[in-house]
Symmetry: C2
Subunit: 429 residues, 2 copies
Amino acid sequence: MKTFSIPLPPSTKIAVVGLGYVGLPLAFALSKKFDVLGFDISLKRISELNAGVDATKEFSKKEVADTKIHFTSSDHDLKTADIYIIAVPTPVNQELIPDLGMLISASKTVGKCLAKGDIVIYESTVYPGATEEECLPVLEKTSGFKMNKDFFLGYSPERINPSDKIHKIDNITKVVSGSDEYSLEIIDELYSSIINAGTYKVNSIKVAEAAKVIENTQRDLNIALINEFSKIFALLDLDTEEVLKAAETKWNFIPFRPGLVGGHCIGVDPYYLTYKAQQVGYDPQVILSGRVVNDHMPNFIADRLLNTLNHLMFDVPNSLILILGYTFKENCNDVRNTKVHDLAVTLSNSVNIVNIFDPLMNNEQVNSLSDINFIDYPEINKYDAIIIAVGHQAFLELGINKIREFCKPNGLIYDLKYLFPPESVDLRL
Amino acid sequence: MKTFSIPLPPSTKIAVVGLGYVGLPLAFALSKKFDVLGFDISLKRISELNAGVDATKEFSKKEVADTKIHFTSSDHDLKTADIYIIAVPTPVNQELIPDLGMLISASKTVGKCLAKGDIVIYESTVYPGATEEECLPVLEKTSGFKMNKDFFLGYSPERINPSDKIHKIDNITKVVSGSDEYSLEIIDELYSSIINAGTYKVNSIKVAEAAKVIENTQRDLNIALINEFSKIFALLDLDTEEVLKAAETKWNFIPFRPGLVGGHCIGVDPYYLTYKAQQVGYDPQVILSGRVVNDHMPNFIADRLLNTLNHLMFDVPNSLILILGYTFKENCNDVRNTKVHDLAVTLSNSVNIVNIFDPLMNNEQVNSLSDINFIDYPEINKYDAIIIAVGHQAFLELGINKIREFCKPNGLIYDLKYLFPPESVDLRL
């Protein structure tokens, strides 16, 4: 049986399973110290990476071309690894219930490849208990091995912040856990060797899972509170940012901004925790109230714009609306679970045309979303209203004067992101 | 008509109306630069202060004896002031509706004293709009004056943090607002001259009111979220502090702790905002869900202790419980709206005796609360369970070994405040 010793030799073979926003940066970081196998079931993703292309745009063509990572979709290759790190998406389904499908599937794949002494580490966000209750049985069944006898288990939550140029994988402290003291030491050594910020050891896999899921839940709820403030302040004719800036002059006020909460993390992770809470008999009213408010923001924004247009005697059913930005986050081309979609759909029920301009999306992405009217560049003097929905640097560089040119002379600009001075726009969140 | 010029001369006479946790420190700070009248309707408070005694314990006997503030309950004295600052409590009633009684009453008193050119500034926490909608009409009616013609209005929210030795009145930025440009300049000058941290001018009284009320609302909700985590983690057999410490290794996790939310601010201010929100037709579900969870914590704590005692075969109906700490906050003798009261009452319905030991409370306070069993000092070897409810420094100094001596040999210690190491106690929040 294979045993690891500290320090881990550079020949240690590590497989990263799932090469998305989480797995790819991790594989790159690990490849500086170890022999890394980058595994993904997407043949397209693997062939792109082998051609030097990272569709998530986290790495340049040169970086991808120069890497020593062996990108593969082959189970046969996967078998050669000593340590497996699973970093696959953990979304929710239409009913907002955790969808562990990809996690279970990856566990089956890895289980079939296990050799005695191997270590399997999960990085995917789950509810507390999921790794041991849902993934471990799959690993044991498909491998025929027993945990802590034939192989070892670990959990180290990913804290990747896509498009963040300051907080990168090597300067974010990494929480690590293992199924026993031995595996905890090896897992800790593994991550310590690539993360300058260091690791934080916890005593159980469940604690590590819980620590991760509450991070995004806290963020989601704090944005929901600010969204609730924004809804109240709209009725009281108060400018939200003006109030927030004043409140932030207190030493312990926490600076959040209102907005659409989309993406694959902040709007999703809370449902993992609430699912488990409900399973054990607790009704998580605070967390769920925040989810309701955040999920309702596209409607609130659409209603406010339409009411304002009506109030100003615009011919709403014949009006043309432009939305600037479609991705779920600024300066990032990720469109998963973007709430701009909901906003566009809601508006399109009431107006004539909704166009979307997002210079960060490529044609392929745009073409795959056939129910949305993407445009290459807005026409001058065309729109009754423009919603600045995503705070792309590109829009800031375009400037408010240029953006106003896309409006008809009396058109409105609704700045959801406080991208421009209050006096230069007509509505703000 | 009186006019103020900048800089304000030391002869400027300022009346602080309401000498509680907010008014007294403010009066002290102002008295270093101006001629200050300290007004309170409580004859007891005034006679104590005149005798050098501050019952809120923010100032020493020497400080009170040495001050130049003229403490008074006389309306006649009040008439001599040029600037009035109203800092009276704004609680909620039994139905959790804002009780503006003291604010209106103080407004009447001040209104009767106004001379032309005077400025009236409110510091009490209210909902956005209250100063202009509720207080201003009272001032105008009782004085017969018109705002911005005969007198001026301002609002500058108090940010006093009682018992906090770091954040004091002179190093906390002060938000200021006024009814017109002139009054804003004078009010800004007034506070700038006593606050080293400086002021922050906002464009309307309503913005200043809103900024204040959201500060404590945000704090309340964040504690509620952690309380919700704590309730979920109790069911999942996870130690909350262990999870929080791991989560806090992420750069943007916000460090809050679970606990009882009492006092006159954090548990009260949110109801001011929700009252106004409901008045204008918005149902503030996020804020209210937090209030429900926080108000339910005494029940949750009592249930958890009783269930544990039952589970361990204690004779619960005959058991003796000791609660350490009664005030709403550590190292402070303020008992207003303390949730330890609710905890004691709830427990007393199920057990034989609930004793409370709080070394920070004096006999007078204790005697006024006749339905609670206060003790001077706990007996050795007496209690089936001890709840550490308030994190007084005095308990830390007492030490866990001494505290355990108050327990019967198999007794439990429930540490709500993480005052002692996890392994030294039996239950934690």
